[in-house]
Symmetry: D3
Subunit: 65 residues, 6 copies
């Protein structure tokens, strides 16, 4: 019954979400033997001004890692 939450800074595409969800659910199934359908994956696209690394907001940086 895994539940996975993925937080990323900024927007990502539907295709990227699908590809990551596939990779993660494949991994969970292969490594833990859990059915893919039992696996909930929730993405949070965090605005860059809402993510700080130390005292610097990502919106102030040129590019995040």
């Amino acid at each position: 019954m895994p539940y996975i939450n993925i937080k990323v800074a900024g927007k990502i595409s539907v295709e990227q979400k699908k590809e990551i969800a596939k990779d993660i659910s494949d991994s969970i199934q292969r490594v833990l033997g859990k059915s893919k359908k039992s696996c909930y994956i929730v993405f949070d696209e965090v605005e860059r001004e809402n993510w700080a690394v130390g005292d610097m907001l990502l919106s102030e940086k040129k590019k995040d890692g």
Copy 2:
């Protein structure tokens, strides 16, 4: 001092939020003996393209369960 986070796919109405918050805080008060006012309940309305079940985004499905 319970803290409850509820993630649902898609939008729900203010009336639905009120009804769920009432049910949950009633339950917490009755079962655990905590005051309602100590109970924080936060809803996250997750866009359907941000919720995957296994490798399928909910936005690709006809209807979620």
Copy 3:
């Protein structure tokens, strides 16, 4: 596909968890029309020294609300 996380300070019994899970999944089903089986509920029993209200840890208080 709701996902609910409940954080409480201190330990609660299995019977209390069952009762709260029943109340919440009943509410989700009645108010949102989601099947109970699609509803994941995860409890976190937080040690009282790991929960602060303002600058006071609950382990320092006589009783939480």
Copy 4:
């Protein structure tokens, strides 16, 4: 490697986010000896109709505490 998530009801300004991120990463560095750059801080600005205290949504109240 601390990860900090801050949920507030309503919007806050970029300046407020910067000031809070500075205070928290300073505290983590001073108290725990972790480098600021290892510290991720994520803000969630929760709509007031998505935050309940007991059975009352904050959007129904005059003012939150």
Copy 5:
């Protein structure tokens, strides 16, 4: 700067954690172009009596999916 949280019911081995962390950070790097080292992955091994599917605790079931 992705942050990933993985909740599973019951204990998993160190080897399983390493394999899943590798798969996920590989995916994040390949799909999103983020460096692996910017990726924090946190596992929560949830006791089965703390995870309910609807009104049934996993500790009451024979086996989770």
Copy 6:
């Protein structure tokens, strides 16, 4: 009504928790004007084998940053 969750790798002392809770609730009060008592702060002390940076578990490293 802020809610703050702090995840750190490994154990920290009660004194460290108190100091961090004081710093954070002071900051929230000063910057946002919220009362300290409305501020819930929850610490998660994550075992080092449950925290990965990229594909490396912290338990495999000499020291985290």
